[in-house]
Amino acid sequence: MVYPSTMSLTANDVLHIARLARVQLAPADVERFTTQLSGILEHFAALAAVNTDGIEPTAHPLPLSNVMRADEVAPSLSQEDALANAPEQEDGYFRVRAVLE
């Protein structure tokens, strides 16, 4: 496993992360988050020193396996209820701007 050689982020890294996370950032935000996120990441560096050879990752604190239910039709939220909070709707659908031009 390769550990990143530096914990520090650049403004371009932050813009890339923000794009992945679909959050628009103002220039002042970029500067602030670059400093703050780099500072936080520095504190994570100590984890690299923990010996985890042969240790399984924990995704979930309890040993639960997949939980299945019978595939039976049951009442669920009505279309009207599901759309009740929609910012815009049309003909029973959520309405958005075109995804593809």
């Binding site: 496993m1 390769v2 550990y3 990143p4 982020l9 890294d13 932050v14 992360i17 923000a18 992945l20 996370a21 679909r22 959050v23 628009q24 950032l25 103002a26 935000d29 602030r32 988050f33 703050q36 996120l37 500072g39 936080i40 990441l41 504190h43 994570f44 100590a46 984890l47 690299a48 923990v50 985890t52 240790i55 399984e56 990752p57 924990t58 995704a59 979930h60 604190p61 309890l62 639960l64 997949n66 939980v67 239910r69 939220l77 209820d81 599901a82 009740a84 909070n85 929609a86 910012p87 815009e88 959520f94 958005v96 701007r97 075109a98 995804v99 031009e101």
Partner: protein
């Protein structure tokens, strides 16, 4: 009708309701009047529900008349605003949900309604439960009833402040890394984060799904036991809800603690712990010895120091996935001024989320992104295993583990809000049990400079009963329960 009924614990109020010395409508009015009087100073609520409360109180009085009352029937409760309530706005402390009216009820609210409890309002919180002070709420900070210039802790700060200020008798909070225990500690209340899986998260706004758990805050140990009894149990709508049957938790109250083995991990006594906190914890350990417990301060949990990094990688990673649902399409705040759907989505999230939420989403996105997944997320999950194993080894030797809940008493509003990492350090004593999914309770153990200090009792998986047994014995011996600050 008794004066100041809002001062009663839930179990005291229940006795009077049952004896018909007090009606739920009278009790609820007393709490609603108290809210009117102090809420401008405390700001414990995002949304108040007085009409609904009085309607539920009338139903509760009918249940007492018909003999179908439970210990929570007619009791005024505050509900953290990430617990969805059908027809009652649920914001999670975020602008992005400012107009969200849930079309269904959460499991825990259903349980409260089944028991006949009365909801007086939706409690303030750090946005999406990310914070330790309520300063990250989009609806203003809550003030600590012990000193209004101080924070009440967080993220369930509104739930804790409401109970401490007499604006509810008990409340529900949620705990991901300390969000019930730390505000309980800072407001002199009792807060209980049960075992991961004990309480269904159906209808809880998700933050860190391998960590989130709902639990109660109250003025004494008996009240949190009663609340946990009510909300626990298997729910098929949450696949992590545990089918383990719940014992009668109140049966553990008053049980003898002689011979109980208490481990005190030395890694918790670190620089940064205030001397006044250390003094109260030392006295608390002496009190446990006087009660006949075997207190061993030689316990070592060497990976404790890594819990903070593990948590602040795993929780933001899970949050970055969970919060992807806030896209301005299906519900909530929506900025539609952009030229395309993607632009609208990015603007919606820019305007709808506060800075701490953006920081965590980006931190999580980074930790999960190509090239960094192994170094951050996977590594954190492996260290999580190491932390779990250390706890499990300790529980072979000890019944419970006792630590301070927070390294400090309540701190001034504004003191840490611009320094994210300083804020994260507030959770240093509550994060390890969260990472391990273990139950932890915080209860008051005295004052330092006039402010409450909290003691944390951590138990093994599904061993809430043993925690309650130790907590109740301690509370009785200390003679501290239902102590409310003199809020002017």
């Amino acid at each position: 009708m008794m004066a100041e009924a809002w001062r009663l614990t839930a179990h005291e109020a229940h006795e009077r309701l049952r004896a018909r010395e007090l009606s739920s409508v009278e009790l609820t009015r007393s709490v609603l009047e108290r809210i009117e009087a102090v809420e401008p100073k405390v700001n414990a609520y995002i949304t108040r529900t007085p009409e609904l409360a009085l309607e539920q109180a009338r139903e509760a009085d009918a249940r007492f008349a018909s003999g179908t009352a439970t210990p929570l029937t007619g009791i005024p409760v505050a509900v953290k605003d990430l617990i969805v309530t059908k027809g009652v706005r649920t914001t999670a402390g975020s602008r992005i949900l400012e107009n969200f009216i849930p079309p269904y009820d959460s499991h825990v609210y259903e349980q409260l309604r089944r028991a006949g409890a009365v909801m007086v309002g939706k409690a303030n919180m750090d946005e999406f439960a990310m914070g330790s002070s309520t300063e990250h709420s989009a609806y203003g900070v809550s003030h600590n009833p012990w000193n209004l210039d101080l924070v009440p802790g967080g993220s369930s700060g509104g739930s804790a402040a409401a109970v401490a200020a007499g604006e509810a008798l008990v409340s529900l909070g949620s705990d991901t890394g300390g969000s019930i225990r730390q505000p309980a500690s800072l407001t002199g209340m009792v807060g209980f984060d049960p075992t991961y899986g004990r309480v269904s998260r159906f209808g809880i706004v998700a933050f860190g799904s391998s960590l989130d758990q709902v639990g109660p805050i109250g003025r004494d140990v008996e009240d949190v036991a009663t609340m946990l009894d009510c909300i626990s149990g298997h729910d098929p709508r949450d696949s992590t809800s545990n089918p383990e049957p719940l014992p009668d938790l109140r049966a553990y109250l008053g049980q003898d603690v002689r011979g109980m083995k208490i481990g005190v991990p030395r890694e918790y006594f670190i620089a940064g712990m205030e001397p006044g906190v250390k003094d109260r914890i030392d006295e608390a350990l002496k009190l446990f010895e006087e009660l006949g417990c075997e207190v061993d301060t030689s316990l070592s949990l060497p990976s404790t120091e890594h819990a903070l990094a593990v948590y602040y990688i795993i929780a933001p990673s899970e949050a970055s996935a969970n919060l992807a649902r806030y896209d301005g399409v299906k519900y909530g705040f929506s900025d539609r001024t952009g030229a395309s759907m993607w632009e609208n989505m990015e603007q919606t999230r820019a305007g709808g989320f506060g800075n701490e939420v953006k920081r965590r989403i980006m931190l999580g996105t980074y930790a999960l992104s190509a090239g960094y997944y192994d170094a951050y997320y996977l590594k954190a999950q492996k260290v999580r295993t190491v932390i779990n194993r250390e706890f499990q080894a300790a529980f072979e030797k000890y019944d419970v583990i006792v630590t301070p809940t927070s390294p400090t008493v309540a701190f001034p509003i504004g003191a840490k809000v611009d320094d994210p990492f300083a804020m994260y350090l507030n959770d240093v004593y509550t994060l390890p049990a969260s990472v391990a999914g273990l139950p932890g309770l915080s209860l008051p153990c005295g004052l330092s400079e006039g402010l409450p200090v909290g003691l944390q009792i951590i138990g093994n998986f599904f061993d809430e009963g043993r925690i309650l047994r130790a907590a109740y014995a301690f509370e009785s011996a200390l003679g501290w329960s239902n102590r409310l600050p003199d809020l002017a």
